[in-house]
Protein backbone atom coordinates (compact mmCIF):
# COMPACT_ATOMS: atom_id res chain seq x y z
CA UNK A 1 0.00 0.00 0.00
CA UNK A 2 2.83 2.36 0.81
CA UNK A 3 4.31 1.35 -2.55
CA UNK A 4 1.23 2.79 -4.19
CA UNK A 5 1.65 6.03 -2.26
CA UNK A 6 5.31 6.26 -3.22
CA UNK A 7 4.53 5.61 -6.86
CA UNK A 8 1.53 7.96 -7.06
CA UNK A 9 3.39 10.72 -5.28
CA UNK A 10 6.44 10.43 -7.53
CA UNK A 11 4.24 10.53 -10.63
CA UNK A 12 2.27 13.50 -9.29
CA UNK A 13 5.46 15.43 -8.51
CA UNK A 14 6.69 14.82 -12.05
CA UNK A 15 3.30 15.88 -13.38
CA UNK A 16 3.58 19.14 -11.45
CA UNK A 17 6.87 19.72 -13.21
CA UNK A 18 5.12 19.43 -16.55
CA UNK A 19 5.78 15.74 -17.34
CA UNK A 20 2.53 14.92 -19.18
CA UNK A 21 3.03 11.12 -19.54
CA UNK A 22 3.79 10.79 -15.80
CA UNK A 23 0.76 12.91 -14.98
CA UNK A 24 -1.44 10.78 -17.27
CA UNK A 25 -0.25 7.64 -15.50
CA UNK A 26 -0.85 9.20 -12.09
CA UNK A 27 -4.42 10.16 -12.98
CA UNK A 28 -5.10 6.78 -14.56
CA UNK A 29 -3.92 4.96 -11.41
CA UNK A 30 -5.92 7.33 -9.28
CA UNK A 31 -8.97 6.81 -11.51
CA UNK A 32 -8.93 3.05 -10.82
CA UNK A 33 -8.86 3.72 -7.10
CA UNK A 34 -11.57 6.33 -7.27
CA UNK A 35 -13.81 3.98 -9.25
CA UNK A 36 -13.47 1.30 -6.59
CA UNK A 37 -13.97 3.83 -3.81
CA UNK A 38 -17.18 5.26 -5.26
CA UNK A 39 -18.53 1.90 -6.47
CA UNK A 40 -18.34 0.56 -2.93
CA UNK A 41 -20.16 3.54 -1.48
CA UNK A 42 -22.69 4.24 -4.22
CA UNK A 43 -24.23 0.82 -4.67
CA UNK A 44 -27.63 2.52 -4.81
CA UNK A 45 -26.65 4.57 -7.86
CA UNK A 46 -24.05 2.68 -9.91
CA UNK A 47 -24.80 4.84 -12.95
CA UNK A 48 -23.37 7.87 -11.14
CA UNK A 49 -20.04 6.26 -10.29
CA UNK A 50 -18.21 7.27 -13.44
CA UNK A 51 -19.53 10.84 -13.17
CA UNK A 52 -18.09 11.04 -9.67
CA UNK A 53 -14.74 9.62 -10.84
CA UNK A 54 -14.56 12.27 -13.54
CA UNK A 55 -15.68 15.11 -11.29
CA UNK A 56 -13.06 14.11 -8.73
CA UNK A 57 -10.27 13.82 -11.31
CA UNK A 58 -11.14 17.31 -12.51
CA UNK A 59 -11.09 18.59 -8.92
CA UNK A 60 -7.74 16.91 -8.22
CA UNK A 61 -6.36 18.67 -11.27
CA UNK A 62 -7.81 22.11 -10.57
CA UNK A 63 -7.11 22.07 -6.82
CA UNK A 64 -3.61 20.60 -7.08
CA UNK A 65 -2.08 23.76 -5.57
CA UNK A 66 -3.67 22.83 -2.23
CA UNK A 67 -1.67 19.60 -2.00
CA UNK A 68 1.37 20.16 0.18
CA UNK A 69 4.06 17.89 -1.27
CA UNK A 70 5.42 17.29 2.25
CA UNK A 71 2.17 15.43 2.95
CA UNK A 72 0.77 12.15 1.68
CA UNK A 73 -0.68 12.44 -1.81
CA UNK A 74 -3.17 9.61 -1.32
CA UNK A 75 -4.47 11.12 1.92
CA UNK A 76 -5.06 14.38 0.06
CA UNK A 77 -6.70 12.69 -2.95
CA UNK A 78 -8.86 10.62 -0.63
CA UNK A 79 -10.00 13.78 1.16
CA UNK A 80 -10.97 15.31 -2.19
CA UNK A 81 -12.92 12.17 -3.16
CA UNK A 82 -14.61 12.06 0.24
CA UNK A 83 -15.61 15.72 -0.05
CA UNK A 84 -16.96 15.18 -3.56
CA UNK A 85 -19.07 12.24 -2.40
CA UNK A 86 -20.45 14.13 0.60
CA UNK A 87 -21.20 17.10 -1.66
CA UNK A 88 -22.95 14.77 -4.11
CA UNK A 89 -25.11 13.30 -1.36
CA UNK A 90 -25.83 16.73 0.09
CA UNK A 91 -27.08 17.98 -3.25
CA UNK A 92 -29.21 14.89 -3.63
CA UNK A 93 -30.38 15.22 -0.03
CA UNK A 94 -29.03 11.83 0.95
CA UNK A 95 -27.99 11.50 4.58
CA UNK A 96 -24.85 9.42 4.98
CA UNK A 97 -21.64 9.58 6.91
CA UNK A 98 -18.14 8.68 5.81
CA UNK A 99 -15.21 7.82 8.04
CA UNK A 100 -12.35 10.29 7.82
CA UNK A 101 -9.54 7.82 8.11
CA UNK A 102 -10.21 5.11 5.55
CA UNK A 103 -7.58 6.28 3.11
CA UNK A 104 -5.47 3.18 3.71
CA UNK A 105 -8.32 1.17 2.30
CA UNK A 106 -8.58 3.77 -0.48
CA UNK A 107 -5.21 2.49 -1.69
CA UNK A 108 -6.18 -1.15 -1.79
CA UNK A 109 -8.45 -1.00 -4.78
CA UNK A 110 -9.74 -3.88 -6.82
CA UNK A 111 -10.39 -3.24 -10.50
CA UNK A 112 -13.81 -2.20 -11.72
CA UNK A 113 -14.80 -1.74 -15.33
CA UNK A 114 -14.90 1.91 -16.21
CA UNK A 115 -18.32 3.03 -17.30
CA UNK A 116 -19.10 6.08 -19.33
CA UNK A 117 -19.79 9.41 -17.65
CA UNK A 118 -22.75 11.33 -18.96
CA UNK A 119 -22.54 14.51 -16.91
CA UNK A 120 -19.21 15.46 -18.42
CA UNK A 121 -20.63 15.33 -21.95
CA UNK A 122 -23.50 17.51 -20.85
CA UNK A 123 -21.12 19.97 -19.20
CA UNK A 124 -18.86 19.92 -22.24
CA UNK A 125 -21.76 20.64 -24.55
CA UNK A 126 -22.58 23.77 -22.56
CA UNK A 127 -19.08 25.26 -22.95
CA UNK A 128 -18.42 28.02 -25.49
CA UNK A 129 -17.59 26.62 -28.94
CA UNK A 130 -13.85 27.46 -28.81
CA UNK A 131 -13.25 25.85 -25.42
CA UNK A 132 -15.24 22.79 -26.42
CA UNK A 133 -13.24 22.28 -29.61
CA UNK A 134 -9.98 22.68 -27.72
CA UNK A 135 -10.90 20.07 -25.09
CA UNK A 136 -12.14 17.69 -27.79
CA UNK A 137 -8.94 18.13 -29.77
CA UNK A 138 -6.51 17.45 -26.95
CA UNK A 139 -8.47 14.51 -25.61
CA UNK A 140 -8.19 12.77 -28.98
CA UNK A 141 -4.87 11.03 -28.56
CA UNK A 142 -2.18 12.37 -30.83
CA UNK A 143 -3.14 16.00 -30.97
CA UNK A 144 -0.75 17.92 -28.71
CA UNK A 145 -1.60 21.22 -27.11
CA UNK A 146 0.59 23.02 -29.66
CA UNK A 147 -1.20 21.30 -32.55
CA UNK A 148 -4.63 21.93 -31.10
CA UNK A 149 -3.66 25.57 -30.61
CA UNK A 150 -2.37 25.85 -34.16
CA UNK A 151 -5.65 24.44 -35.40
CA UNK A 152 -7.52 27.10 -33.44
CA UNK A 153 -5.08 29.74 -34.64
CA UNK A 154 -3.51 30.48 -31.24
CA UNK A 155 -0.07 29.93 -29.69
CA UNK A 156 0.72 26.97 -27.43
CA UNK A 157 0.83 29.31 -24.42
CA UNK A 158 -2.58 30.74 -25.24
CA UNK A 159 -3.91 27.23 -25.84
CA UNK A 160 -2.63 26.22 -22.39
CA UNK A 161 -4.43 29.14 -20.74
CA UNK A 162 -7.60 28.43 -22.73
CA UNK A 163 -7.48 24.74 -21.82
CA UNK A 164 -7.00 25.58 -18.15
CA UNK A 165 -10.04 27.90 -18.24
CA UNK A 166 -12.08 25.31 -20.07
CA UNK A 167 -11.27 22.64 -17.47
CA UNK A 168 -12.19 25.00 -14.65
CA UNK A 169 -15.48 25.85 -16.34
CA UNK A 170 -16.12 22.13 -16.86
CA UNK A 171 -15.59 21.38 -13.18
CA UNK A 172 -17.97 24.20 -12.22
CA UNK A 173 -20.64 23.06 -14.67
CA UNK A 174 -20.40 19.43 -13.67
CA UNK A 175 -21.19 20.38 -10.11
CA UNK A 176 -24.18 22.39 -11.18
CA UNK A 177 -25.39 19.92 -13.78
CA UNK A 178 -28.81 18.97 -12.49
CA UNK A 179 -28.61 16.08 -10.12
Amino acid sequence: MTDTETRLKALMLRGLEGDAPAYRECLALLGVRLRAYFARRMSGAPADVEDMVQETLLAVHIKRATWDSAQSFTAWAHAVARYKLIDHWRRRKIRQTLPLDDHAEFLAAEEHDPGVGLELDRALASLPERQRVLVSDVKLAGLSLAEAGAKAGISEGAAKVALHRALKALAERMRHADR
Binding site: K160, L163, H164
Partner: protein
Protein backbone atom coordinates in the same frame (compact mmCIF):
# COMPACT_ATOMS: atom_id res chain seq x y z
CA UNK B 1 -17.26 10.71 -22.23
CA UNK B 2 -14.76 8.04 -21.33
CA UNK B 3 -12.58 8.77 -18.33
CA UNK B 4 -9.48 8.04 -20.40
CA UNK B 5 -10.42 10.90 -22.71
CA UNK B 6 -10.76 13.25 -19.77
CA UNK B 7 -7.38 12.13 -18.42
CA UNK B 8 -5.91 12.88 -21.85
CA UNK B 9 -7.22 16.43 -21.66
CA UNK B 10 -5.99 16.87 -18.08
CA UNK B 11 -2.53 15.52 -18.99
CA UNK B 12 -2.28 18.13 -21.73
CA UNK B 13 -2.60 20.71 -18.93
CA UNK B 14 0.15 19.10 -16.76
CA UNK B 15 2.49 21.38 -14.86
CA UNK B 16 2.34 23.53 -11.76
CA UNK B 17 -0.99 25.08 -10.87
CA UNK B 18 -1.10 28.63 -12.24
CA UNK B 19 -1.04 31.56 -9.83
CA UNK B 20 0.26 31.84 -6.29
CA UNK B 21 0.02 29.05 -3.72
CA UNK B 22 -2.46 29.10 -0.81
CA UNK B 23 -0.13 30.77 1.73
CA UNK B 24 0.77 33.55 -0.68
CA UNK B 25 -2.84 34.21 -1.67
CA UNK B 26 -3.94 34.43 1.96
CA UNK B 27 -0.99 36.67 2.80
CA UNK B 28 -2.02 39.00 -0.02
CA UNK B 29 -5.57 38.94 1.30
CA UNK B 30 -4.37 40.06 4.75
CA UNK B 31 -2.32 42.88 3.21
CA UNK B 32 -5.22 44.01 1.07
CA UNK B 33 -7.50 43.85 4.12
CA UNK B 34 -5.15 46.19 5.99
CA UNK B 35 -5.22 48.66 3.10
CA UNK B 36 -9.02 48.55 2.87
CA UNK B 37 -9.36 49.12 6.62
CA UNK B 38 -6.75 51.90 6.54
CA UNK B 39 -8.61 53.72 3.79
CA UNK B 40 -11.80 53.29 5.81
CA UNK B 41 -10.20 54.74 8.94
CA UNK B 42 -8.54 57.67 7.17
CA UNK B 43 -11.47 58.64 4.94
CA UNK B 44 -14.48 57.69 7.01
CA UNK B 45 -13.58 57.54 10.71
CA UNK B 46 -10.41 59.73 10.78
CA UNK B 47 -7.32 58.85 12.76
CA UNK B 48 -7.29 59.82 16.43
CA UNK B 49 -5.68 63.27 16.82
CA UNK B 50 -3.27 62.17 19.57
CA UNK B 51 -1.95 59.26 17.50
CA UNK B 52 1.69 60.36 17.62
CA UNK B 53 1.65 60.66 21.42
CA UNK B 54 -0.13 57.39 22.17
CA UNK B 55 2.20 55.48 19.86
CA UNK B 56 4.82 56.02 22.52
CA UNK B 57 2.61 54.38 25.14
CA UNK B 58 2.33 50.68 25.89
CA UNK B 59 -1.40 50.03 25.70
CA UNK B 60 -1.70 51.21 22.10
CA UNK B 61 0.70 48.47 21.06
CA UNK B 62 -0.76 45.89 23.43
CA UNK B 63 -4.17 46.44 21.88
CA UNK B 64 -2.69 46.13 18.38
CA UNK B 65 -0.84 42.96 19.41
CA UNK B 66 -4.05 41.44 20.77
CA UNK B 67 -6.17 42.01 17.66
CA UNK B 68 -3.19 41.28 15.40
CA UNK B 69 -2.77 37.91 17.14
CA UNK B 70 -6.46 37.12 16.52
CA UNK B 71 -5.85 37.81 12.83
CA UNK B 72 -2.77 35.58 12.86
CA UNK B 73 -4.82 32.82 14.49
CA UNK B 74 -7.37 33.17 11.69
CA UNK B 75 -4.59 32.99 9.11
CA UNK B 76 -3.02 29.90 10.68
CA UNK B 77 -6.40 28.16 10.76
CA UNK B 78 -7.49 29.04 7.23
CA UNK B 79 -4.09 28.25 5.73
CA UNK B 80 -4.80 24.66 6.82
CA UNK B 81 -8.58 24.61 6.39
CA UNK B 82 -8.21 25.71 2.77
CA UNK B 83 -6.75 22.24 2.10
CA UNK B 84 -8.81 19.04 2.07
CA UNK B 85 -6.85 17.39 4.89
CA UNK B 86 -6.36 20.55 6.94
CA UNK B 87 -6.89 20.79 10.69
CA UNK B 88 -7.59 24.19 12.30
CA UNK B 89 -5.97 23.12 15.56
CA UNK B 90 -2.99 25.48 15.66
CA UNK B 91 -5.17 28.49 14.81
CA UNK B 92 -7.83 27.55 17.36
CA UNK B 93 -5.20 27.04 20.06
CA UNK B 94 -3.55 30.41 19.44
CA UNK B 95 -6.90 32.20 19.13
CA UNK B 96 -8.21 30.56 22.31
CA UNK B 97 -5.13 31.43 24.36
CA UNK B 98 -5.01 35.04 23.16
CA UNK B 99 -8.74 35.65 23.53
CA UNK B 100 -8.86 33.88 26.89
CA UNK B 101 -5.84 35.78 28.21
CA UNK B 102 -7.15 39.18 27.22
CA UNK B 103 -10.68 38.53 28.47
CA UNK B 104 -9.22 37.30 31.76
CA UNK B 105 -7.25 40.55 32.10
CA UNK B 106 -10.49 42.41 31.37
CA UNK B 107 -12.35 40.46 34.07
CA UNK B 108 -9.65 41.24 36.62
CA UNK B 109 -9.73 44.92 35.72
CA UNK B 110 -13.52 44.87 35.85
CA UNK B 111 -13.48 43.31 39.30
CA UNK B 112 -10.89 45.73 40.68
CA UNK B 113 -12.39 48.91 39.25
CA UNK B 114 -14.45 51.28 41.39
CA UNK B 115 -16.65 52.10 38.40
CA UNK B 116 -16.59 49.06 36.10
CA UNK B 117 -19.64 50.07 34.06
CA UNK B 118 -17.93 53.26 32.89
CA UNK B 119 -14.92 51.17 31.89
CA UNK B 120 -17.18 48.82 29.95
CA UNK B 121 -18.95 51.63 28.12
CA UNK B 122 -15.92 53.81 27.45
CA UNK B 123 -16.75 56.56 24.96
CA UNK B 124 -17.79 54.40 22.06
CA UNK B 125 -19.27 51.07 23.16
CA UNK B 126 -22.29 51.50 20.87
CA UNK B 127 -20.12 51.88 17.76
CA UNK B 128 -16.91 49.92 18.32
CA UNK B 129 -17.94 46.39 17.29
CA UNK B 130 -20.03 47.67 14.40
CA UNK B 131 -17.15 49.79 13.08
CA UNK B 132 -14.83 46.78 13.16
CA UNK B 133 -17.47 44.69 11.38
CA UNK B 134 -17.86 47.41 8.72
CA UNK B 135 -14.08 47.65 8.20
CA UNK B 136 -13.65 43.86 8.12
CA UNK B 137 -16.71 42.83 6.09
CA UNK B 138 -15.27 43.65 2.63
CA UNK B 139 -12.15 41.60 3.38
CA UNK B 140 -14.29 38.76 4.72
CA UNK B 141 -16.23 38.66 1.44
CA UNK B 142 -13.07 38.88 -0.64
CA UNK B 143 -11.52 36.18 1.56
CA UNK B 144 -14.42 33.80 0.96
CA UNK B 145 -13.90 34.22 -2.76
CA UNK B 146 -10.15 33.52 -2.37
CA UNK B 147 -10.76 30.46 -0.18
CA UNK B 148 -13.41 29.14 -2.56
CA UNK B 149 -10.65 28.97 -5.18
CA UNK B 150 -8.70 26.68 -2.84
CA UNK B 151 -10.19 23.47 -1.48
CA UNK B 152 -11.90 23.81 1.93
CA UNK B 153 -13.87 20.75 3.03
CA UNK B 154 -15.35 22.24 6.22
CA UNK B 155 -17.15 25.32 4.90
CA UNK B 156 -18.53 26.76 8.16
CA UNK B 157 -15.24 26.49 10.03
CA UNK B 158 -13.27 27.75 7.02
CA UNK B 159 -15.62 30.73 6.72
CA UNK B 160 -15.17 31.44 10.43
CA UNK B 161 -11.38 31.40 10.13
CA UNK B 162 -11.51 33.63 7.04
CA UNK B 163 -13.66 36.14 8.93
CA UNK B 164 -11.35 36.00 11.96
CA UNK B 165 -8.39 36.81 9.72
CA UNK B 166 -10.25 39.75 8.14
CA UNK B 167 -11.65 40.94 11.49
CA UNK B 168 -8.29 40.74 13.26
CA UNK B 169 -6.66 42.85 10.56
CA UNK B 170 -9.55 45.35 10.57
CA UNK B 171 -9.57 45.69 14.38
CA UNK B 172 -5.83 46.29 14.44
CA UNK B 173 -6.13 49.12 11.93
CA UNK B 174 -9.20 50.43 13.80
CA UNK B 175 -6.86 51.09 16.74
CA UNK B 176 -5.56 54.08 14.76
CA UNK B 177 -8.97 55.70 15.18
CA UNK B 178 -10.26 54.40 18.49
CA UNK B 179 -8.92 55.95 21.71
CA UNK B 180 -10.30 53.35 24.13
CA UNK B 181 -7.60 52.01 26.41
CA UNK B 182 -8.91 49.53 28.95
CA UNK B 183 -8.72 45.74 29.05
CA UNK B 184 -12.43 45.66 29.80
CA UNK B 185 -13.43 47.68 26.75
CA UNK B 186 -11.05 46.05 24.27
CA UNK B 187 -11.69 42.57 25.69
CA UNK B 188 -15.42 42.95 25.11
CA UNK B 189 -16.06 45.22 22.13
CA UNK B 190 -12.98 44.58 20.00
CA UNK B 191 -13.39 40.85 20.56
CA UNK B 192 -17.05 41.05 19.58
CA UNK B 193 -16.14 42.99 16.43
CA UNK B 194 -13.66 40.33 15.34
CA UNK B 195 -16.11 37.56 16.25
CA UNK B 196 -18.83 39.33 14.23
CA UNK B 197 -16.61 39.18 11.15
CA UNK B 198 -15.90 35.51 11.88
CA UNK B 199 -19.62 34.82 12.29
CA UNK B 200 -20.34 36.57 9.00
CA UNK B 201 -17.72 34.37 7.34
CA UNK B 202 -19.19 31.24 8.90
CA UNK B 203 -22.77 32.03 7.85
CA UNK B 204 -21.82 32.91 4.27
CA UNK B 205 -19.18 30.20 4.08
CA UNK B 206 -21.83 27.55 4.60
CA UNK B 207 -23.03 28.06 1.05
CA UNK B 208 -20.20 30.10 -0.53
CA UNK B 209 -17.40 27.64 0.18
CA UNK B 210 -18.62 24.79 -2.01
CA UNK B 211 -16.68 23.52 -4.96
Amino acid sequence: MRTDDLIEALAADAGPAPGAGPARRLGLLAGLGAVVALVGVLVWLKARPDLMDVMRGGFFWLKAAYTGALGVAGYLAIERLARPTGSPRRGLVLGGIVLGGFVLAGLIQFGMSADPITLLRGQSWTRCSLNILALGAPTTLLGLWVVRGLAPTRPVLAGFATGALAGGVAATVYGLHCAESSFVFVGVWYSLGVLACAALGAVLGRWALRW
